[in-house]
């Protein structure tokens, strides 16, 4: 059992002979390249996420934003490049070492990816049952705390189908939080939500950063959400990060694709 609440045993970090990033960089993507057949989705992406900060990856639909985050949790392997997560090469880890590293990362899927045959409570309990040796009372406390932190304490006995889109995303986030991750990846956290829910979810991401020190990467094309969430924004276009900086710096970028993206907002 890979209990995330038990300290990790000492081991040699897997670096593949490369120089690890500084300790305050929790995610570091170097020259990330990925193709699917003839389609070159990522063509040398470089991106670093500092501890306790929120990064946003902006870009139009189909530019490979989800592909990028899926590399960080090793749902995909790069054709070329390095994926560093908390000082180790995620692209080289295997077996228990990979699973242990994955437990440091929470992932909020676009639709929440809740298990629809289980209630909200069971969705959260399932993760704890599999990964911890906590008592039933301790598990109940953790579940209540997670639901409280997404402002949905009263839905524990409901099934995902009974929740709204925004609530499902927040429960997805509560499920990611229950194992107390250091990093959370948000895949389109506000897509399909009304402006009020966009604000609620975005402010939740900021709250988690400020109160729990959770570092995050959000991929989105929603500028309202990006404005609330971001410390540093990156613009992905044709498989490369073509502009990076604060949102204001991006707004004044002279790259035509970035300009077009921000003009679209107007």
């Amino acid at each position: 059992m890979l209990d995330p609440f038990v300290p990790e045993p000492a081991h040699m970090p897997v670096t593949g002979g490369a120089v690890p990033p500084p300790e305050d960089v929790v995610v570091d993507l170097r020259d990330l390249t990925k193709s699917f057949g003839e389609k070159h989705v990522l063509q040398g992406v470089d991106l670093a996420l500092e501890r306790g900060t929120s990064a946003v990856v902006l870009g139009g639909s189909g530019t490979g934003k989800s592909v990028l985050t899926k590399h960080i949790v090793r749902l995909l392997r790069p054709d070329k490049g390095e994926v560093w997560v908390m000082g180790e090469r995620m692209d080289l880890l295997e077996g228990d070492a990979l699973d242990r590293k994955r437990l440091h990362i929470g992932y909020l899927f676009q639709g929440g990816a809740l298990f629809d045959s289980m209630t909200v409570y069971q969705n959260l309990q399932f993760f704890l049952d599999r990964h911890t040796r906590l008592s039933k009372g301790e598990k109940n406390d953790l579940i209540a705390e997670s639901l409280e932190s997404v402002n949905l304490p009263g839905v524990a006995q409901q099934f995902p189908a009974e929740l709204s889109g925004g609530q499902r995303k927040r429960i997805g986030l509560a499920r990611a939080l229950v194992l107390k991750p250091d990093i959370i990846l948000y895949d389109e956290p506000t897509t399909g939500l009304d402006p009020v829910s966009v604000r609620v979810v975005s402010e939740l991401i900021v709250k988690l950063r400020d109160e729990r020190g959770i570092s995050s990467i959000s991929i989105t094309h929603d500028l309202l959400a990006a404005r609330i969430i971001t410390d540093r924004a990156h613009f992905l276009f044709e498989g490369k990060i073509v502009a990076a900086g604060t949102l204001d710096e991006l707004r004044h970028s002279d790259h035509p694709a970035v300009q077009e993206f921000f003009e679209g907002e107007v």
């Binding site: 890979l2 899926k70 949790v73 749902l75 990979l98 699973d99 242990r100 994955r102 437990l103 990362i105 992932y107 899927f109 676009q110 639709g111 990816a113 809740l114 298990f115 629809d116 993760f127 599999r130 990964h131 194992l179």
Partner: protein, 307 residues
């Protein structure tokens, strides 16, 4: 503005230009004809070409299935061992299919007895009815029919469930949370099928014999003890065991094919529906083909029944 002078073409020139135009028209018609023929030839070639594209996906799918079977055996020995989920799946495969297989067994036994009685009576061999019934039910109809019925019920269910989990990223969510979805979803379902198919077959066989007895009792007042003695007089234990246990193989086929198709769905709800349909069709076909091989092998090793 001065009037425009009319220009008259000389007669010879007029004839020459007409000839020229006719020649041009004829040439263009010929060219058009050639072009049409060329297009037709290309269309015919294009019609033939898809043959290649039929084999490509088929081979890709077959290779994928073999790879999936390989993964099954490679991961089978490794933890985590999902005992609780295995019991859940056995409940799904067994308990929840009881009514269906029970009705199938009972009705097939009664129908077989009704259909055969007339023919046997014509040869004065009515007393062979229980034996014939037992032989048909235990050796072939029970195992194959139960497996086909379960393939219909479970194949579609498994493929649709895993397929929708795939398209809604639930399988990815398990993977990301280090919960080994292959163990949790695939191993448990396939093993449940392997274990439960023979048990369900025994139930169907027994109920089919009950159905046959009810029909016999109603039609010819046959005694229960005589029915049982006659039924099992020409049966060997090996016949029953081999033909019942072959359903474990059929269960494996249904489980692995349905899991493979569901686990590898790409796209949306349309593809989930297609995967469910393909799971039933492919499992059923593979059961029938595997049955031919198993029967041939059992004849080779155990000889024909009654010998």
């Amino acid at each position: 503005m001065p009037p425009r002078p009319e220009i008259e073409e000389p007669a010879d020139d007029l004839a020459g230009s007409l000839t020229q135009r006719l020649r041009t028209a004829r040439r263009s018609r010929t060219e058009e004809k050639i072009l049409q023929e060329k297009e037709l030839a290309e269309a015919l070639m294009a019609q033939r070409r898809p043959r290649e594209s039929v084999w490509g996906p088929f081979l890709e799918r077959a290779g994928g299935l073999f790879g999936f079977v390989g993964q099954f055996f490679a991961r089978f020995w490794r933890p985590p061992y999902e005992g609780k989920e295995l019991l859940n799946q056995m409940d799904e495969v067994g308990t929840r299919s009881l009514t269906l297989t029970g009705i199938v067994g009972l009705s097939i036994g009664m129908v077989l007895a009704m259909q055969s009685r007339g023919t046997l009576a014509r040869f004065g061999a009515e007393s062979f009815l229980p034996g014939m019934l037992a032989l048909s039910v235990f050796k072939e109809i029970g195992p194959v029919l139960t497996s086909l019925v379960l393939a219909g019920r479970l194949g579609a269910g498994i493929a649709a469930e895993l397929g929708s989990m795939k398209v809604t990223e639930q399988i990815d969510a398990l993977e990301v949370a280090a919960l080994k979805p292959f163990h949790y979803l695939v191993l448990t379902r396939v093993l449940a099928c392997v274990i439960m198919f023979p048990l369900m077959t025994i139930l169907t066989d027994v109920l089919a014999m009950c159905g046959g007895f009810i029909e016999s009792a109603l039609s010819s007042n046959m005694d229960y003890r005589m029915f049982v003695t006659e039924a099992f007089a020409s049966m060997r234990f090996a016949d029953v065991i081999v033909d019942t246990m072959k359903t474990s193989l059929f269960g494996f086929i249904v489980g692995i094919v349905s899991c493979y198709l569901g686990y590898n769905v790409r796209g949306g709800t349309r593809e989930v529906g297609q995967a469910a349909m393909q799971a039933v069709v492919l499992s059923s076909l593979m059961i029938l083909l595997a049955d031919v091989v198993v029967v041939r092998m059992s004849l080779l090793f155990f000889g024909a029944p009654g010998t």
